[in-house]
Each structure stands twice: as structure tokens, then as C-alpha cells.
């Protein structure tokens, strides 16, 4: 059932090697049992409250949708559109970098891959803090204005208009690496033989591009676009941290606006706004789904002859050096800032070399009250429990979906679409009804864990399903422990799903804020509170951000090989 199905993470084309017969497998009841946890969580936490939101928004006909007439709402939705347009920019930058790096050797592209992808695991809060610091209006603190100051200019980058540049760059920095990864892999697997043949037959360049290269890139492009779109639709904490308070209204999208105003709007109008937001994201995701459907299934060996270092190629590779430096700069800014005396960070920049100001006092401040340590520990425990729960629910579900042919082929596509839609759904769309339905337990850790898990499960099922479907299983006789076998073979995808869950939960701000849990044990919210006096707390804030960033970065570096394998192949062999 591969081939035409729009799998997510379908970067590498492949043949379906399984036998097209329904093997005698689990009974329907047992198969249903495998699906139970994932379906219960997705339906209970996401679908039912979503339906409730739609119903609330329609109470009294379409009157609630007149919320569109409000100038502030329109401004917020317009901002949302700008953010979604930035998703295209992210793809373009990712593609451009992948094109530059297409002939880079295995070693170089491996290093580049790590450098470019790392920002994706940094919390958007931290990203916002870093870019706010880089573009600080005060030339004594902001490096860009310090450089411009040499030319006699001083620009209020965080002010009206320019703020888009700052946040746009932050957004591109954060997500272009994922697009790069996808395009880089796709370019490496272009059907080289076919291109060679076409060239030999004298087919002109433009036609070669249109009929071979573009179709081969459509699937990966759709995937990159979808990922960037989801990131753009969820822009929230980046604005909260990256823009000065008074500037936030100029750049905040519908999601943040909804969070600030939903109690003023009233239940019906707030629900209508949430539905409109979901529709907006859904509409913009449609081209991606079309692209995923049209993907090609050439099977081309990945092995290529060692590239000869010709002149133009070497020049192209030289471009990669400044890219790598630029991409690492924000990390350097954060670390260097955290290592300076807290008072000094307010009045001078990280590039000033004054040895007596280098110290660990900011780290001391960060841990001074014990609250940060507690939040770190509790967030870690909560995140690990969520990861376990996600795998517990998603692994059997993905296995059953991949190997049991439970559903007629015709219904498989809608199921997949629902999973993709749920993975992209803005939490604002179901927050209020969810909050009310679980209000007796809303503050409990158990409730928080359940909601987090439900949010990640659709994505995890997609990732795992893709890998499990490729595991070769015995044709006629089914082994009793086939699930174990499949999981073992699909381990890279399992690691990928686990790391995705970890990063999403570890960095979460939105769920914490939306569902009104007290902030005391929520690591990113602790960072956010520091930003009240951004300039005078940037030292300890940077120290806390470094610690909060080290955890997911280390995780990604340790599991790097598995992640890459999981993303591109899914299976061990």
C-alpha cells in the first residue's frame, strides 16, 4: 500500500516488497486493542474538544464569525499570513543551502547537517531572547548596532517595521535546517541515471528540470513546506520573548492574539476565531498534501562516485563556511552572554574582552532560589513520562496500521489526513472545551502529561507507521512476536519519534500557558518570567537558557545517527 500513499517523512523512494495478500494476523478485536490507547487519547483530548469548539462557534448561527470585522482581529490574522509566508522563505533558504552543499563530501555535509539542524531543537523562547539581544537598539549591547555604529548608523531594529526582520531571521534560523536536511537528501537521490540518459538523448535542460528534477523534488518540498507551515502556525513564544512588549501587537499572529483576548471576545467569538485559524492553516496545508500525493517512486541507489573537487565546486563549498559560522553565531552569543557578570550584560556586549568580567555569577543567580532546579527536574520527569506514554500508544497503533490491513485501502487516506491535520492543529482550537471538561483534574501532572502525549501521538504514529510499513515480515506464517521484530527493525523511527516528543514537550510554552497551569514547575515559563526586565536579567536568563538548551542538543547529538536514519529510512536495514 505504499507507492501512492502520502507518507510523511517519505524522503527516500522505495518499493513495497511485501506480499499483497492479507496475512492471517491478529483478530480484529486484538488489533482494535492495539489502537485503543492512541485513538482514545486523540479522540478525547483533541477531536472531541475540537468538535465542541466548532459547535460553540456556531451557536447563534454565523453571528460569531462577525469577529472578522474587528480591526484588531484582522491585524492579527494578517500577521498570521505573514508568518505563514515566512514558511515559504524557510523552504527557499533550506533549498538554496542544500543546492550549495549538494556536492559536499560525506564528512562536510554531516557537519553541516548537525550545525543547521540544531536550532530546531532550541526553544523558540531562547531563540527570541538571542535575536533580541543580537539586534538590541543599544549599540553597547546589540552587536548589529555596534557594527553599524562604525558607519554612524543606529537602527531601532526591535521597533516598528524592523521587528519583522529580527523575528523573521530568528524564524529562518530556527527552521531552515530541517528544510535543508530534507532537500539535501532529496538532491542526493535525484535519478542520476535517468538524467544522464536524458542528456545523452539531447533533451534540453529546461525540459530535463521540469520532467525529472521537479517531480523528484515535489514530495520532499511538500514535506519541508508542511513542517515549516506547522512551525509558522504555532509561532507564539518567539514573539513573547523576542519582541518588546509594546511591539508584540504589531507582529503577533492569531494564536497569540487569541490567548490575550479570548475572555474579552466571549466564548462564541473566541471559538469562531480559533476555528478560522485552523481553517487558515488547513487551507495553506492543502498544496503540501497534493505534493505528497504526487511523489515519485524511483528506486535509485544512493551510492555515488566520489566527487571530484573541480573549481566551481570548491568555490561553492567556500560559501558553506560563512553559512556555518552564521548559524553558530547565535549559540555563541547566548553562551558568551551567560558567562559574563550579570551587571555587565546590561551595559556592555558579549564581544567586549574584559577578563575580570568573565565569571559564572549568572549561573549562580540562575540557581539562587532553587525554583529553577526544581523546574528543571520536574520538567525532565514530566517529559520522560510523556515520551514513554507516546511510544506506548503510538507503537502498537502504527504497527497495526502498517501490518494488519485493518482498514480498506480507500479509507486509509482519510485516516492519514486526519493524522496530519491533528499534528498541525493549533492548540487554541481545542483549549477551552478541554479545560472545562477536565477541570476537576486540570492542575494535576497526570492531566498535563495526558494532554502533551495526545498532542504528539499523531505525529509519532505517522513517523512510526512509515518505518514499520517497510519492515519485511515473513510472508505466510506470522510469527508470534512479530511486533517485537518490527519494533527492532524500525528502531531508528522509534528513536526519532521519542526525540520529537521529548523536544516538543521540553520546549512547550503554549500548552502550559493555554491550559493555565501554574508556572512554577514549567521550565520555559520560568524563562519567560525572567523577560519582564529583559535587559537587566539577560545574564541569568542566558544562563538558564543555556542549561535548558543543552539537554535537547545533547540528546540530538547522542542520537544523531539514529535520527538521521529514522528520518531518511525509518528502518535499520
Amino acid at each position: 500500500m505504499s507507492g501512492k500513499d502520502p507518507f510523511l517523512f517519505e524522503v527516500v523512494p522505495h518499493h513495497d516488497t511485501r506480499v499483497p495478500v492479507t496475512a492471517q494476523g491478529l483478530s480484529r478485536w486484538r488489533a482494535g486493542l492495539y489502537l485503543l490507547l492512541a485513538v482514545l487519547l486523540a479522540a478525547g483530548v483533541l477531536l472531541a474538544p475540537l468538535a465542541a469548539t466548532v459547535v460553540i462557534s456556531l451557536s447563534g448561527g454565523l453571528a460569531n464569525y462577525e469577529v472578522l470585522g474587528d480591526a484588531q482581529v484582522l491585524q492579527a490574522l494578517g500577521n498570521s499570513l505573514v508568518w505563514l509566508a515566512l514558511a515559504v522563505l524557510v523552504c527557499a533558504v533550506g533549498f538554496g543551502l542544500a543546492w550549495l552543499a549538494r556536492d559536499a563530501g560525506a564528512g562536510l555535509s554531516g557537519v553541516l547537517r548537525v550545525i543547521l539542524v540544531l536550532p530546531a531543537v532550541v526553544s523558540p523562547l531562547t531563540t527570541g531572547a538571542i535575536f533580541r539581544l543580537i539586534f538590541d537598539t543599544n549599540p553597547a549591547r546589540g552587536v548589529v548596532n555596534a557594527l553599524l555604529g562604525g558607519a554612524g548608523a543606529n537602527v531601532a531594529f526591535l521597533g516598528p517595521g524592523w521587528i519583522w526582520l529580527v523575528l523573521g531571521l530568528a524564524f529562518v534560523w530556527q527552521w531552515a535546517g530541517l528544510a535543508f536536511l530534507i532537500f539535501h537528501e532529496a538532491l542526493a537521490r535525484l535519478p542520476a541515471n535517468l538524467l544522464r540518459v536524458a542528456r545523452a538523448f539531447g533533451i534540453e535542460r529546461r525540459r530535463r528540470i521540469w520532467s525529472i528534477v521537479v517531480p523528484a523534488l515535489a514530495g520532499p518540498a511538500a514535506l519541508a513546506y508542511l513542517l515549516a507551515l506547522v512551525a509558522a502556525a504555532r509561532v507564539f513564544d518567539l514573539v513573547l520573548m523576542g519582541a518588546p512588549g509594546a511591539m508584540q501587537a504589531q507582529v503577533e499572529g492569531g494564536g497569540l492574539f487569541w490567548w490575550r483576548h479570548h475572555s474579552d471576545l466571549g466564548a462564541g467569538r473566541a471559538a469562531a476565531l480559533a476555528v478560522l485559524l485552523s481553517i487558515l492553516v488547513g487551507l495553506l496545508a492543502l498544496p503540501a498534501l497534493a505534493g505528497l500525493r504526487g511523489q515519485v517512486t524511483w528506486s535509485e541507489p544512493a551510492a555515488r562516485p566520489a566527487s571530484k573537487a573541480a573549481g566551481p565546486r570548491r568555490r561553492r563549498r567556500l560559501w558553506l563556511l560563512p553559512v556555518a559560522v552564521l548559524w553558530l553565531l547565535p549559540f555563541a552569543v547566548l553562551v558568551l552572554t551567560s558567562l559574563r557578570a550579570p551587571d555587565a550584560t546590561a551595559v556592555s556586549g558579549w564581544w567586549r574582552v574584559q577578563w575580570d568580567l568573565w565569571q559564572l555569577a549568572s549561573y549562580g543567580d540562575a540557581f539562587a532560589d532553587g525554583g529553577f532546579m526544581g523546574a528543571l527536574a520536574i520538567t525532565a520527569v514530566r517529559t520522560l513520562v510523556v515520551v514513554a506514554l507516546v511510544l506506548l500508544a503510538a507503537v502498537p497503533a502504527a504497527y497495526v496500521l502498517a501490518h494488519e490491513h485493518l482498514l480498506p485501502r480507500r479509507t486509509w487516506r482519510p485516516v492519514l489526513l486526519v493524522a496530519v491535520a491533528l499534528a498541525a492543529l493549533p492548540p487554541q482550537a481545542f483549549a477551552v472545551p478541554l479545560q472545562e471538561s477536565i477541570s476537576p483534574v486540570v492542575g494535576s501532572t497526570l492531566a498535563l502529561i495526558t494532554v502533551h502525549a495526545a498532542l504528539v501521538i499523531p505525529l509519532a504514529v505517522l513517523v512510526l507507521h512509515n518505518a514499520f510499513a517497510r519492515v519485511r515480515t515473513p510472508m505466510v506464517t506470522r510469527h508470534r512476536w512479530e511486533l517485537i521484530h518490527v519494533v527492532r527493525e524500525g528502531a531508528p523511527a522509534g528513536v526519532l519519534a521519542g526525540v520529537l516528543a521529548f523536544v516538543l514537550v521540553w520546549n512547550d510554552t503554549v500548552v502550559g500557558l493555554l491550559l493555565n497551569w501554574p508556572a512554577g514547575d514549567h521550565l520555559p515559563l520560568l524563562l519567560l518570567e525572567q523577560a519582564r526586565h529583559f535587559m537587566s536579567t539577560i545574564g541569568p536568563l542566558a544562563a538558564q537558557a543555556v542549561i535548558a538548551t543543552v539537554v535537547p542538543v545533547a540528546l540530538v547529538i547522542v542520537t544523531g545517527r539514529w535520527l538521521y536514519r529514522g528520518l531518511t529510512h525509518g528502518v535499520r536495514r
Partner: protein
């Protein structure tokens, strides 16, 4: 439900073991961060009750209004009086019994319902001060109009800085309008449509336009409160900054060598009395909290014996400056702040911060209500150089329509 958040919070204290055993520390929610939070932690260290403090930041309203009483803290120190007037939050606050002995003005503020005192003031603030470098011959402008000659530093990135400006101008011009808006601002949109509000907005717009160039205006929108103080006392790029008494520790921390701070009162309108806008943080015990919660609020806000005792952490904070309280003697403050402390001790006619008192769509917060409308006014007159009368008209219309959204 077996693993409730409450038990979970104590885990760090109990080193990860059964967190439910023993008495649970009081959970105290505050809004401070950085220096102020550190000072507050120093205060509660002396408390006879075990306490866990967490900073809810500007989201404290969401926390107190949250869907479940289960997760609200035992004690909250609330920076926005309006939250006491919010019907949903008010239900969750236990009235203090017996009624605490705080000055009448402050006690009345914390009584949204007559005869029922919901909170006791922990910290109060004087918001009608203008700071400048000492010894540079700057004197208080005799009238509001005379601001024009000064280079103003305004931390316009913080909405509350702009509302403080508006409140001072409005109070200087028309105390009676201020008082009406204070009592019924969110339920009577027509109050915002009066000529007094429009004229105050226009005068404010004029002051901003004259004191801030387009380039400085653009910069001002990126400056938070602390930054605006640096401009006067560290970089000397501006002459004056209107800021509350708690600017003092910031000046003390960052001032350039040789610079001393001085301040005068916000200018009056013509021959009238200068305005006095006050603010503060009120401590409340939440319902569901234990008796300890009441005792803690009492302990936190109980009057100190006259004379001063520097071993008391709150009095030590007051002596450092940036902390005024109705239960601490004015003479303990640093000499430069004693006048402000006395103003507050005798406050009768002064008015509480209007934007902190409002509820509903006019209530503050980044990108919301009065904060947002005044930010737009600031942008219009300083960057776009719109005529003050036009910009003020737009702002007044926005206030009326936001007000009517709330009373609908």
C-alpha cells in the same frame, strides 16, 4: 489524580521521595523576577512558615482565574488591584478576618465590597516622580505645558510606563473625571467620551511630540523601564525620566560614575495641586488555603514598631530603597526617597493607578486595552508626527469602543 500538582511541587524539597508526607509548604505566587524576586525571597526566608515562592509573571491573572480551584496558590501578592474586582477571582479570595489595621485609604481600596477587606498591602509605590541628574540645574516645570523644553526618556516598550503618564496628566487636569473612571471605568463607556479625557489625551500627545523626536520615538518603543533609566543616568542621552520610586535601585545599580539622582514631583496643571498616582501589591489569602495562609499574610504586612529595625528583612529592603509599605516608617527610606514615602503615608486625595484597577477589555497587559491604545497614540505622535488633536481623537474613540465591548 493520585499525582496531584500540589504533591508534585514538594518533590524537590523532599528529594524526590514521597512528597505527600509531612506538612506542605505554603505556595505563594508573586509577579516579580530578577532583583525584586531575590529580595522577596530574602523576606520569606524569615517567615515562620515553610514557603514555596513562584513567580507567575504577568500571567498571574490567568493563574488566579484558572479553571480549577485546586491549582490556585495559597497566597498571592497581586500587582493589579483590578483582579480583586474581577468577579471570578474575587470568589476565590478569602476575606481577611479580623480586618487588618492598615491606613484607611489603602484598606478601602482592597474592599471591593463594603465591609469586606480582601487583602493587605505588602508594597506600595509612588508613581508621580520625575527623575533627573542632580546638580544640573533642572527644576520642576511650573505647569504641564512647560515640559516642552526637556528631552524625555520614555520606556515605551512597557505599556504601564505610558499609562502612568496618562494617569498623571489626567489626574493633574481633572481629578473628578479620574475618580469617576476609577470607580466605573469598565461599566460606563460614556465616561471615556468626555471632553476631559480627550483634552488630557491631547495634552499628553503634545508633551510626547515635543519631548520626543521621531528617531527617539522609534528607539523608545524598544526601551523597557530599566533601559529608560540608563538613558538618563548612564548614557546621559536624555534629561528626565518619569518613573516610580522603585527606579531607585535601578539607578543605584547602573548609574555612571559621579552621577547622583534627584527627583521632583510630576508637574501640576496651572495652580492646582500636583498629581499623586499610587500603585501597589496587595497580599491575599486564596480560598482553599489553610489558616497558615492568613497568618502568613498578617505576618507579611504587620506594622513594624516605630524607630526601625534593620534586622527585619522588609525594613532592610526599605532602607535600600525601592520598597515602600504602609506599615514601615517613612524615615527608614534613603534620604532621597523619604519625601515620597511621606507623600504616601499621608495619601488621602491621591488616586490609585487607573489602568491597574480596570478589568475587562480595557485592562492592561502587553498588546491589550489601555496599554495598546496608548502605545498606538505614542507611535502616532512621535514617529508618524500626527497632529496631537487628531491622534488624541483616535485614541479617545478607541477607548470608548473598547469600553463598550466590555459592558456589552
Amino acid at each position: 489524580m493520585s499525582l496531584s500538582r500540589r504533591s508534585f511541587l514538594t518533590i524537590p524539597a523532599a528529594v524526590g521521595l514521597a512528597g505527600c508526607a509531612g506538612s506542605r509548604p505554603l505556595r505563594v505566587a508573586v509577579v516579580w523576577s530578577g532583583d525584586e524576586l531575590r529580595r522577596f525571597l530574602r523576606v520569606v526566608k524569615d517567615s515562620p512558615y515553610p514557603v514555596t515562592v513562584y513567580s507567575a509573571g504577568d500571567n498571574i491573572a490567568a493563574l488566579l482565574r484558572g479553571p480549577s480551584g485546586e491549582v490556585t496558590p495559597d497566597v498571592a501578592v497581586i500587582p493589579r488591584l483590578g483582579l480583586l474586582y474581577d468577579p471570578e477571582i474575587r470568589r476565590r479570595i478569602s476575606p481577611l478576618t479580623p480586618i487588618r489595621r492598615q491606613p484607611e485609604f489603602w484598606r478601602d481600596l482592597a474592599s471591593p465590597v463594603p465591609g469586606q477587606v480582601l487583602g493587605a498591602w505588602f508594597k506600595i509605590a509612588h508613581k508621580s516622580l520625575v527623575w533627573h541628574r542632580d546638580g544640573e540645574g533642572l527644576a520642576r516645570p511650573p505647569t504641564l505645558d512647560a515640559w516642552a523644553s526637556r528631552t524625555l526618556s520614555i520606556g515605551a516598550a512597557d505599556g504601564w510606563v505610558l499609562t502612568d503618564w496618562f494617569e498623571n496628566v489626567l489626574l493633574a487636569r481633572s481629578p473628578s473625571t479620574y475618580s469617576k473612571l476609577f470607580s466605573h471605568g469598565e461599566s460606563s463607556p460614556e465616561l471615556w467620551a468626555t471632553g476631559e479625557v480627550r483634552q488630557a489625551l491631547e495634552q499628553l500627545a503634545t508633551i510626547w511630540q515635543q519631548g520626543v523626536t521621531a528617531e527617539r520615538g522609534r528607539r523608545a518603543l524598544t526601551l523597557q523601564f530599566h533601559d529608560s533609566i540608563l538613558d538618563v543616568f548612564t548614557y546621559r542621552t536624555a534629561e528626565v525620566v518619569a518613573a516610580p520610586d522603585f527606579a531607585w535601585p535601578v539607578i543605584a545599580r547602573y548609574h555612571a560614575a559621579g552621577v547622583r539622582a534627584a527627583h521632583f514631583r510630576f508637574p501640576a496643571n496651572g495652580g492646582a495641586a500636583p498629581p499623586l498616582v499610587v500603585g501597589g501589591d496587595v497580599a491575599v489569602a486564596m480560598s482553599g488555603g489553610t489558616a497558615d495562609a492568613f497568618d502568613f499574610v498578617h505576618w507579611l504586612t504587620s506594622p513594624r514598631p516605630p524607630g526601625g529595625d534593620r534586622s527585619d528583612t522588609q525594613e532592610a529592603w526599605a532602607a535600600e530603597g525601592g520598597f515602600l509599605a504602609p506599615y514601615i516608617d517613612a524615615s527608614i527610606s534613603p534620604p532621597a526617597l523619604r519625601g515620597a514615602a511621606r507623600d504616601l503615608a499621608g495619601v488621602r486625595t491621591g488616586q490609585y493607578d487607573l489602568s491597574d484597577r480596570l478589568t475587562g477589555p480595557l485592562a492592561g497587559g502587553d498588546g491589550r486595552g489601555l496599554w495598546r491604545i496608548l502605545t498606538e497614540l505614542f507611535i502616532a505622535v512621535t514617529i508618524d508626527r500626527t497632529r496631537p488633536a487628531t491622534a488624541a481623537g483616535t485614541a479617545a474613540d478607541d477607548l470608548v469602543s473598547a469600553g463598550s465591548r466590555g459592558s456589552r
